[in-house]
Symmetry: C2
Subunit: 315 residues, 2 copies
Amino acid sequence: MTRPPQRATAFAPASASNLAVGFDILGHPAGPTGDRVTVTRRGEPGIVITGVTGVAGPLPMDPAANTATVGLLRMLDEVRPGFGLEVSIEKGIPLGSGTGGSAASAVAGIVAANALLPEPLEPAALFRYALMGEAVASGAVHGDNVAPCLFGGLVLVRSAEPMDVVTLPVPATLRCAMARPHQRLDTRAARQVLPSAYPLHDVIRQTANLAGVVAGCCTGDLALVGRSLRDVLIEPHRAALIPGFYEVKEAAMKAGALGCSISGAGPSLFAWCDGDAIADAVCDAMVAAFAACGVASDGWTCAVGGPGARVEEVS
Amino acid sequence: MTRPPQRATAFAPASASNLAVGFDILGHPAGPTGDRVTVTRRGEPGIVITGVTGVAGPLPMDPAANTATVGLLRMLDEVRPGFGLEVSIEKGIPLGSGTGGSAASAVAGIVAANALLPEPLEPAALFRYALMGEAVASGAVHGDNVAPCLFGGLVLVRSAEPMDVVTLPVPATLRCAMARPHQRLDTRAARQVLPSAYPLHDVIRQTANLAGVVAGCCTGDLALVGRSLRDVLIEPHRAALIPGFYEVKEAAMKAGALGCSISGAGPSLFAWCDGDAIADAVCDAMVAAFAACGVASDGWTCAVGGPGARVEEVS
């Protein structure tokens, strides 16, 4: 009889969500940065957080308050595998950056723990546990970071509970340029600036653009995507929270982006581009524009349909 | 030198719009019924309506107030072809039925007149003139009846002004069942029951469903279309205006429809179905359910990506 695995490490990528037209429903991975979680079997039940390293500031060491472990607690409670977990978290994604850091920690923890279970869980179960961690951080249950982080690809979260996640086709040349200011914007604060209700006229324009983006991605019509990647509903309310927003967006568009808006709740911005060369130029332009506004930032480019979380090591 | 054409007749089909998830932005033809307009050159400038026949009640004989001629007046004013028009209208679509009667009259008039012009107009110009007629009837500029009626196909009106009309792929087996009660519902009245603003939570659900329907049509995933063809935004407010709505919808779903909701502003209902056999059964079930509620109705089935307006005769 072989000894069951004692320790597993999983990596989960950053992600860009909302994507201008898909508030709470659209997202895609935005690596290469991400969070890494290592879980180790312990004889006693329950969870102990043994360490938090990386780019994040102080994080709760109470497993019931940490996004990486809230879902894990529930998983152990429901699955009852007969062991507890020591959890070590390596944050590669800054908190409050709008690039899915809470989702990545939650996903990495669940995916790592899943590798220690005698019978791996179904995708829907992994999704549900990871959502619990995300909800702690954002104050709302929405899967548009968890789903792309967990499954990869450009995803539509038609429903988070019950899970209905649809992977959308991605045009071959579509790329994403990201710019992440060295500032923190609390997701809950970014939610509080949103009106509770939206005029029908704006809803119609937003839905028309959403349909254009989805149809453009499905049919490979990047011109349609470019005409449609415009946020009339959410961006106008959140832009003021992001120093340099309009300057950076203008710089991205001038450099050839198909569209540019807020990644997640911000302050990071994303820009979709046709091809690597334009994505590189747009990325440089965005970082330069942030700098011109006195804001330091990191920039990088990535695929729109990239891979999700992966188990890196089991021993 | 050949004599220029003196008379032209055009036919424009009924249409189903809104389609549960695409208020003011989605529509498709819903023939075989439609309106027919004959235009005849006259030496004097301006327009004279010489007759209105068919299923409609009394219609304005003033060309500035009739949906079939408002756009024509503007066309003559801008194009200045050197002649006026006698216009005869044969209504096949009852007014206030929710199946695009105003749009069909406007489109048929424009398409017929276009056949008499020395140089035919661009599609965008035809669309713009036809929209003017539609606006007279509905009190709002929205192209989700005019576009499918004019161009055919399942169309997304990303923007009416300027025109950005996208033809969406239609799954091969997708069919539509229609049921039109013998009752009239004024489009303006149906607009007045709509709230001016919508909660973010409902907007998120509606957009998730819209994205599902568009993606499902583009990728041929009718199961996704079926899960997504649900209106949480508009239908709840308008259902009360349609006697028998919930009974007819339930009957359609029990008979196997992918989804069922209000066609246009109602009171007609549409139901999307997978295949002819189910569409026939759904159609029968809808008409029977209306009858059980004491409401007489016509039922028919049609393609979702059927043809738009056509010139029938030029002489």
